[in-house]
Symmetry: C2
Subunit: 493 residues, 2 copies
């Protein structure tokens, strides 16, 4: 593609750097004023999602769904690397399945949606819309597993689930959400534990840190906070920019509870029959909420490059004759795409430049490349980083290479920023009283032995909960009790 000859018409008077408004009109409620409202504003203005027509449900719009697809692809690849295989189990579950495991039914019964009519008739046995597929997968594992040679059985499913929410909030708590749920059966407790721990670290925490650029604290849930039916719940906890915790993903050991309830047994090499040990684990569209609240700022979303649907947008600032700038912009975008960068062109010059720049900021596209007629004459384009706002004129021929480097830098910068924020808002304290003070703006770490039942109650009065337990060295606690355990506490979503 060749550039058109330079126009004879002088460029209109304008600053040399394209004029993004210095003090843009406020498009969002500032985070410091009202964080929940900022969150809702971003979701609306960046066209991420909307409430569905049935209360508590959500519509995920293309811009957010593209991010979810990148999350899915990476989590899926990591799950497959651990040996898990994808399958699909039905949406509808007999009510009776949920009652087989006592804790499980108690955990879910207030949240169930029930189908009573279908095919024009009232159903003889109403069916439940899955709140999770634990039970139905247990039922089939029981059929499929006969011998020790069938173990481990490592299944995963990507699906929608329904848990009726009284106080819904888009991405964080919706009556329907999308997730993956893994369910495995093993011959020994030790192996089940090893696998649940592997999912926690290699699949979830590492993905969240490397891809979502969100530092996570990996720990053990206290018994009161476990998944219904689990003997051990491992969690990834992260800090949002209001200092509150978000549980981003969990990995559960279920002991033999579900194996007993669903008769998941196997014949060993010695011919004796034993019960299996099962695990389950999941991450959901809730991670989208985490991504928004861990990185967003007063100008909007900041999407980590690795999961961005659009990593770079080439903006035609203003065009002159014969679409000269448009052509150059499309040529550059083609170059970026050729390097594997997810790039697009914004040549919608009918809309004011400032308004468009603001919109891309709102959407959090990691890199903007601004090109105007004068830039083209000078042989440069201006690269704008969304994370820092930094603007750099770069010779046109170097732009594509520079953008590729920048995407890595931005990925790292977002992580570093989130990590230092989390660290600056986390206090090491010795008493529940000090933990309550620290918990007003962030997390506190304190000796678990200093909490006790009375301490839990006291924290609860301030809406503070134990997010997880760590061992003395900061690793995942390996038991519910122990003198040297550390409790991480904070307010949470």
């Amino acid at each position: 593609m060749s550039h058109e000859r330079r126009t004879e018409r002088p460029d209109p008077p304008a600053a040399w750097l394209p004029s993004t408004p210095v003090a843009p009109k406020r498009v969002l409620t500032p985070q410091a004023d009202d964080f929940p409202r900022w969150y809702q504003d971003v979701i609306n203005r960046a066209e991420l999602a909307e409430n569905g027509p049935v209360r508590g449900t959500m519509v995920i719009r293309p811009y957010a769904y593209a991010i979810w697809e990148h999350m899915q692809a990476e989590v899926d690849a990591r799950l497959k690397a651990t040996g898990a295989e994808n399958a699909y189990f039905p949406l509808f579950i007999p009510e009776e399945y949920l009652t087989r495991e006592a804790e499980h039914v108690e955990g879910f019964s207030p949240e169930l949606a029930v189908v009573t009519h279908a095919g024009g008739n009232e159903l003889e046995h109403p069916v439940v819309v899955r709140p999770t597929s634990e039970t139905v997968i247990g039922e089939f594992m029981s059929k499929w597993i006969q011998s020790h040679r069938d173990l481990p059985m490592l299944l995963n499913q990507w699906s929608n689930v329904v848990r009726w929410e009284k106080r819904p909030r888009i991405f964080l708590r919706t009556s329907e959400f999308l997730w993956q749920e893994g369910h495995t059966a093993h011959a020994s407790e030790e192996e089940a534990n090893r696998y649940a721990v592997r999912i926690l670290h290699e699949v979830y925490a590492d993905f969240m840190e490397e891809y979502l650029a969100i530092p996570v604290i990996r720990g053990r849930k206290i018994p009161q906070e476990r998944f219904p039916g689990a003997t051990n719940t491992l969690t990834c906890e992260s800090m949002m920019r209001d200092g509150k915790a978000l549980q981003m993903g969990t990995s559960h050991e279920l002991g033999q509870n579900f194996a007993k309830a669903f008769d998941i047994g196997y014949q060993g090499a010695d011919g004796r029959r034993s019960l299996a040990w099962t695990t389950s684990w999941g991450v959901s569209t809730r991670m989208m909420g985490g991504l928004i609240m861990a990185h967003g700022d007063d100008a909007g979303l900041r999407v980590p490059p690795k999961v961005a649907g659009t990593q770079a947008v080439v903006m035609v600032v203003r065009d002159d004759d014969h679409d000269r700038v448009g052509k150059a912009a499309r040529y550059l975008a083609g170059d970026l795409v050729g390097r594997g960068i997810r790039a697009k062109v914004d040549d919608n010059v009918d809309t004011g430049f400032g308004r468009r720049a603001t919109a891309w900021e709102l959407k959090g596209v990691p890199v903007r490349i601004e090109m105007g007629p004068r830039d083209l004459d000078e042989g440069v384009a201006v690269i704008v980083r969304r994370d820092s706002g930094e603007k750099t004129p770069v010779p046109t021929v170097e732009v594509a290479g520079r953008v590729a480097e920048l995407l890595d830098e931005i990925q790292q910068a977002l992580f570093d920023e989130a990590l230092s924020f989390q660290q600056s808002r986390t206090a090491d304290v010795a008493t529940v009283a000090d933990a309550i003070e620290a918990g007003a703006t962030g997390f506190a770490r304190l000796p678990w032995s200093a909490v006790g039942d009375a301490g839990l109650d006291e924290l609860g009065k301030h809406a503070i909960t134990v997010r997880c337990l760590l061992s003395a060295d900061g690793g995942v606690a390996e038991s519910d009790d122990g003198d040297d355990l550390i409790a991480v506490v904070g307010r949470s979503y």
Copy 2:
């Protein structure tokens, strides 16, 4: 990895070629005896799927789900290439939405599943589990589309839908199934038509022929067979190995019916408001049924290489000392994987070789590579094609390259075989009586003008329907009537 030294122990007496049983024990009902039973047998024995606990639902097992994932990936890439963007709309739809478009509600009401209780209470307004998302997407398009600049809007969704089935059949008719549904809005009828036609050819038919190796007839549905609310339904029809037709995918023009019902309008460049023209289109897990029935034979499934989860399996026939053959097999599999071939090793020598070979045949893995101690000494492995059964000893060093070529050959051979089968079972006839005769074993093509209402009734008595209308030159008919149109008729699933 180095091979162990050759064992001194002589090979056991065995035919030079590994002993796959010449007349294997019948594991499936032969197709010619009872095709529906053969279908169900394959689904069970190849571990593709099972009935779910709630009648009409299905569990898709990992082997089949991997094939579905390859189908999804390719269809998704093709949809994105047309400009469609993925999004997600809720499972639950207000009942009232379905009644807005008269034909639509009539089409679906006997199939709906209704949630009447949720969150522990009876719902004031019962909600429907989506049978399709036409209505809810229409509702949101109405909000999102304001100006002609918002058009075309090209949305797609991968999801589960529910249509209560009285006579369920796995993959073909299940109360819940997985699919993609696309919904688009355009400024003109012509543009909507062009897009619906593009989906038919570039996304669906081409994918089915290139990836599923299933030849399809592309045509127009007669008014009685259209999607509820559509003004034109385009279809991909294929022939199964019992001569019956399977509708594999459809693309609909909805005219302005949904735009009217949901008020999907836009302001033109001239400032005047007009109604949009919408389309919708979908393919589902039903394609799995098509894949099974278009290619399977009396030994089981035959999976086209492009969508096979496992393209090649390296079988350790029998091992001698120190896992010598096992090591060579794993080395070869590594080589195959390195070339991008989805390969795995079967070194489960505790199970008899014949039984394992039969199992891989059942599952329809395109290529088996058999390696035994004697083969290794001779420096060869035996490649077995699933499609033709042909066995060829090949020098070990050439195996990987040969397998890569074979996968292409098998892909083509399966298509060619299906095409000549379809052609051999399709008769050109002039009368309804002759069409009825031809329809007993396959398809008939006859002048549409020779059918008429009486002809439709007559065909119907023999369970024969018009699959689609073609133009005189064999292309897609562009109207419902016309002297030179050709009707393709047959029995169908």
